[in-house]
Point group: C2
Chain length 133, copies 2
């Protein structure tokens, strides 16, 4: 099938699929006209990649997951470890974002938000000591 069909089947944009070929994640055949010719297996791999990416795995993790997927003698422990590391990274990222949000929320709550210039948000960013209320 052509790249358009592979895109529709896998849910990935054609541009992304070409990129994935560039970096060696898929290796479709080529027809006599130079067009890529994707097998069902290729389309399936692309869909696999799409799902893994949507769970936030990096391209390199996807590459590893894909090779494990195609390795009949894999150990599920290897897959699990990748997933756990990724989960832990997500957990840390969430904590970081929540710290930001918390600080932001405090500043936002302190800002009256009218047409006067006084602004605790800017005060904080400018390094002013916390104002005594």
């Amino acid at each position: 099938m052509n790249i358009g069909d592979a895109a529709e089947l896998s849910g990935l944009p054609a541009k992304t699929i070409r990129y994935y070929e560039d970096i060696g994640l898929v290796r479709p055949e080529r027809g006599g006209n130079g067009y890529r010719d994707f097998s069902k297996r290729d389309a399936h791999k692309l869909a696999f990649l799409g799902r893994a990416r949507s769970l936030g795995f990096s391209i390199e993790e996807c590459r590893t997951l894909l090779s494990l997927y195609e390795d009949r003698s894999r150990a599920s422990a290897d897959v699990k470890e990748i997933a756990e590391q990724h989960r832990d990274r997500i957990t840390r990222k969430i904590a970081e974002l929540e710290a930001m949000r918390s600080t932001l929320q405090t500043l936002i709550s302190d800002c009256h938000g009218d047409d006067r210039p006084d602004c605790p948000i800017l005060d904080d960013l400018s390094g002013a000591e916390t104002v005594i209320e």
Copy 2:
């Protein structure tokens, strides 16, 4: 002061400071030797930028915040709106990451993680229907 001192005062790497000059966030003077010459005001702006960045504001938001900071006739409402939009973006990002983490955790829990190849994580990524337990 030289860039090294500005870096130490602001907590930003010299590389970052040069980049900020490139994109017009700061405009230090130049000495006769071609070295940048930062005023205290410049260093203060850099520290402002560092704090805003650490709260996750984009460079363009930082640019706006900085111009509001330097605008004596600003309305605090303008600052607050930027902060609120940013907070909302963070909130959405957290929700997205939590959805990923939740899915990952389910898959991880279902994976026995030994040296056998059966793996619900790969099954899920490959698009297999949920297995009846």
